[in-house]
């Protein structure tokens, strides 16, 4: 039986998956970057060719494993393996890419079976570089696909942003989730 202790970050090349995992991980993340040799070279010198891995240590010694999928479609055979035992999917979309909606539809389509069994939150990155499409437009697009999910603007370098995206995912799974001794603040460093 799979242990449900994984959180999956996915999205196209350069959307910020590796950076987002590094923002949350308590330990230096394991990265499997290599010199890009295909079309990816246009966007990044290094890219993730297998997976990224980070870990958050929880109270009582438990761990949440953070996995980042490789963005290139030719590695999609790995995606199903990676999602096994996942509690949810954080999809990052680069708003400055030529066709972010195509990316959105592609990843939602490929991960749909996993999304239907778990949770989804969508983080839109690089909105400071390009503000269009708007979050409203993204919501319309996912609604067309019969999905509902939190869609938030995210700077993958910001622990606070990535943390809020994951918190949104958790509350989307269970709005009644409660944290005792809540001080009423986003106490994220």
């Amino acid at each position: 039986m799979a242990l449900y202790n994984k959180l999956i970050f996915t999205g196209p090349v350069g959307a910020g998956k590796t950076t987002a995992i590094a923002s949350l991980s308590d330990e230096p993340p394991v990265r499997t970057d290599a010199l890009a040799s295909d079309m990816t070279r246009k966007f990044k010198q290094d890219t993730t060719v297998a997976l990224d891995y980070g870990v958050m240590t929880l109270e009582g010694g438990g761990k949440l494993h953070l996995y980042g999928t490789p963005g290139q479609e030719r590695f999609d055979f790995m995606w199903e393996i990676l999602t096994e035992g996942g509690i949810g999917l954080a999809l990052l979309i680069d708003n400055s890419s030529p066709d972010p909606f195509r990316d959105l539809r592609f990843f939602l389509g490929r991960f749909r079976p996993f999304i239907d069994q778990s949770g989804l939150a969508i983080g839109i990155t690089r909105m400071d570089l390009k503000s269009d499409p708007t979050l409203e437009a993204y919501n319309r697009e996912i609604e067309k696909l019969g999905l509902k999910a939190p869609v938030l603007e995210v700077d993958a370098r910001s622990r606070r942003d990535v943390s809020l995206l994951v918190q949104a995912l958790l509350f989307h799974l269970d709005p009644g989730l409660v944290v005792e001794d809540d001080d009423g603040q986003f106490a994220v460093s």
């Binding site: 019969g146 989730l177 603040q185």
Partner: protein
């Protein structure tokens, strides 16, 4: 030729403008020395600040003949002042200080060691950027939101109402506008969807506690009521530093105007639904906002039912609904005895419902809770 520094005093209470000037003179104006007003060669005053005219009057009575630089949006009526138009540009401020140096006979250009950039990125902007983080929406600084004992409030009686009206005008006409309420003037730049006000969140929140009429009554300002006027020269390509997004500004103003009450027009028993998640990474809100957003996005609930389902203080839920409604994210849902409580087509609703969703009951613990605690740094 004198190397004597120009002694400068800044008048008025500590505001972002005051801090900006202090930082500028201390770090970017090498010939300037900050001193007490009585020892100063020149004083600088933000004339748009609270009670500034009385301050100016009193100061001039005590220190007649002392040069005065006033920062103001519009040309002041007072005689004998050097006017620097706001939003502040470092070049204009430096020109004004140089004028004073000439008047005082300290006009040695060799001694004038001013950090002055040749491009548009001026020293004042640098100072503003360094201070920006201090005055940016600070979730920790403004965490005590006062809660009213009443259940409903009338948004049009508060800043929220005048702000929405001005937004509509600005967006429809594409003209930059200025709101005068007797408090700090608020500027709206519709092309960039930005707002500018010379106040930090603490000051804004304090103002939001009062209705506009009550504020006017207390201060004696603008008895005729708030005004919305076009801002000449407001259609600038580069808005001043410290601007905020229109959405984020309206969101927090509505949250604070609400003070835990529902806006008139949303009954506590009325079913409401969230059209989409607010962009909570860029908005002011307490942690409970995530829960309320999640519940109301997934299910139409009345405000009072949402309070029960989430076991949150009513103020948290009602303020969220107020802010979400002001920013156009809340829709009212007509209650149906049969079928899903939605105005969406039934087919679409069924598709949404295919996913197994946990009931919004309070979880007693578990793995998700541990993750949440870790994310919140507990």
């Amino acid at each position: 030729m004198s190397d004597t520094p120009l002694k400068i005093a800044i008048l008025g209470p500590r505001t972002p403008c005051y801090d900006l000037l202090t930082h500028f003179i201390e770090h970017n104006c090498q010939f300037g020395l900050l001193v007490e007003p009585e020892q100063a060669d020149v004083c600088i005053l933000n004339l748009d600040g609270f009670d500034a005219e009385r301050l100016l009057h009193d100061h001039r009575q005590r220190n007649s003949g002392q040069p005065m630089i006033v920062l103001a949006l519009n040309k002041p009526a007072q005689e004998g002042c050097i006017w620097v138009k706001k939003p502040l540009q470092s070049r204009q401020l430096m020109d004004a200080l140089e004028t004073v140096r000439h008047l005082n006979g300290k006009n040695d250009s060799a001694a004038l060691k001013v950090v002055r950039n040749t491009d548009e990125t001026t020293a004042l902007n640098q100072a503003a950027r360094q201070l920006a983080s201090k005055h940016r929406a600070n979730h920790k600084a403004v965490h005590t939101v006062s809660v009213s004992k009443t259940k409903y409030y009338e948004p049009v009686e508060y800043l929220q109402g005048i702000l929405i009206k001005a937004y509509r005008q600005a967006v429809t006409t594409g003209i930059s506008l200025r709101i005068d309420t007797g408090w700090e003037p608020i500027f709206i730049y519709p092309h960039k969807r930005l707002v500018w006000v010379d106040a930090d969140d603490k000051k804004l929140q304090a103002f939001c506690h009062l209705s506009i009429r009550k504020f006017s009554h207390l201060t004696g300002e603008l008895a005729s009521g708030p005004t919305i006027t076009p801002e000449p020269g407001g259609d600038i390509d580069k808005p001043p530093d410290g601007c905020q997004s229109m959405e984020a500004f309206l969101w927090k103003v509505s949250w604070w105007n609400s003070a835990g009450r529902l806006p008139r027009g949303v009954k506590s028993s009325q079913l409401v639904r969230l059209k989409r998640w607010p962009n909570l990474t860029r908005l002011w809100c307490p942690a409970s906002a995530l829960q309320v957003a999640s519940l109301l996005y997934q299910t139409a609930k009345s405000p009072e039912d949402a309070v029960t389902a989430l076991a949150l203080p009513p103020a948290d839920v009602y303020s969220f609904i107020s802010a979400a409604r002001a920013t156009g994210l809340i829709e009212r849902v007509e209650e149906k005895r049969s079928g899903p409580p939605s105005n969406l087509p039934a087919e679409k609703e069924r598709r949404f419902d295919r996913r197994p969703r946990p009931e919004p009951a309070r979880s007693s613990g578990g793995f998700l809770r541990k993750i949440l605690r870790s994310l919140r740094g507990e």
